[in-house]
Amino acid sequence: MSKMNRRDALRYGAAAAAVIGSAVGAQILATSSSAAPSPTTAPADPDPRDFELDYRGKKIKGAHGKAETKHSHQVHINGRKLAVMPIELPAAADASGVSLGFISALNHYEPVLIDEDRNKDGLLKLARQAVDALGDSELTALASTEHDHGR
């Protein structure tokens, strides 16, 4: 991981992440431990950000990763899995470290930010974008295959 000092952060501050959503509210990995939810002994506890609803005639379901798998988010559209993959992005201009975006097989060049603050609806946004792209088609098995983007 890059170690940017304050001078570098100022110098390269113009290179903000090219993402959807507010970079200002991006979850910064360097400080994520303080923002992480408290450990829970009830694994069945639903994440308040999870969703299951109809959008443009399709059933979309989203489940956020929990605890140690907190970056393993799950999306299904009409019961078919859409692979969602994390990708490291430049931090916001006023922060250091990196921020974490997510891309899907369908939205492969347009990361969304997902966190528990300003971008808490990120996974829903990603799922809706996938439905927008699908139109009247459905996901194939190819869209369900996760792959490593080199975090």
Partner: protein, 273 residues
């Protein structure tokens, strides 16, 4: 040696020849046919054997340079006069102008995000999607959901004299490459995929033949950067001993005999007009 021209300047004959060669490669049933290129892009978008080759890495530019050279050679088997044209999206910014005309790439998707309805790639009979993330067997586009990069943004990216920088991935805040690829702003490459939409926004983006015109333009911009800052091997980074990425003299899989160093100077293979 081929000359890669601006798509807006192609004659009707040149456009027809490119389309014909692309369709013949699509119809090829053995060897590295069109769908091999689609599959290869999907496979190498991610890291392979722990190495990032095609995206989120310094070799984004040399990997796609070789990918285009291979594709162009495959087309030239059918028509030696064909070269890949480039789409300069700082100039041609309309969903109905070049290259999205009915005699070349065709236009937008039906209803704004459905199958395209004009041109030689409209409909599954003319152009069947065999390797896709969706069940659509017709080529789809959803154009205009983003803003194409401006000439000013291109100038600003090409003004970065350092090729790339640690951590050599999509979070790099310094250097030219991540700004060109588009995980850092200004975003030149990614946003064009988003602007075209449909298949171009998916992991199987080469299903849309405009993929080649877009990447030809990205390669042309890298060539302009090289003209300004140098074609020599010292301009590519990292030079050596960097895990997870392709150093200057390491193989650009799936072409084991090709390295970033070997593709830096393209002038004996093709030039840009």
């Amino acid at each position: 040696m081929g000359v890669r021209k601006n798509a807006r300047n192609l004659t009707s004959t040149e456009k027809a020849a490119f389309v014909s060669a692309v369709k013949q490669l699509k119809a090829q049933t053995t060897g590295r046919n069109y769908d091999w290129y689609v599959t290869t892009h999907i496979n190498y978008f991610a890291s392979v054997g722990g190495i990032r080759y095609a995206h989120q890495s310094p070799s984004f530019l040399p990997w796609h340079r070789q990918y285009l050279i291979e594709f162009e050679r495959a087309l030239q088997v059918y028509d030696p006069a064909v070269s890949i044209p480039y789409w300069d999206w700082t100039v041609d910014r309309s969903t109905t102008g070049a290259p999205f005309t009915a005699d070349f790439m065709g236009g937008n998707g039906s209803g704004g995000n459905g199958p395209i309805t004009t041109g030689p790639f409209a409909g599954a009979t003319n152009w069947r999607i065999n390797v896709g993330s969706t069940t659509s067997t017709s080529l789809r586009r959803a154009m205009g959901s983003a803003t194409l990069p401006s000439a000013t943004q291109v100038t600003s990216v090409l003004g970065n004299s350092t090729y790339d920088a640690a951590p050599w991935n999509s979070s790099a805040t310094s250097g030219m490459r991540n700004r060109m690829e588009g995980w850092a702003t200004p975003n030149l490459h990614n946003v064009v995929h988003v602007w075209v939409g449909g298949h171009m926004g998916q992991q199987d983006s080469p299903n849309d033949p405009v993929f080649w015109l877009h990447h030809c333009n990205i390669d042309r911009l890298w060539s302009q950067w090289q003209t300004r800052w140098g074609f020599d091997t010292s301009r590519y980074l990292p030079a050596a001993n960097t895990t997870g990425v392709v150093d200057l003299n390491e193989p650009l899989q799936p072409w084991p005999d090709v390295t970033p160093a070997s593709v830096l100077n393209h002038s004996s293979t093709y030039t840009y007009a």
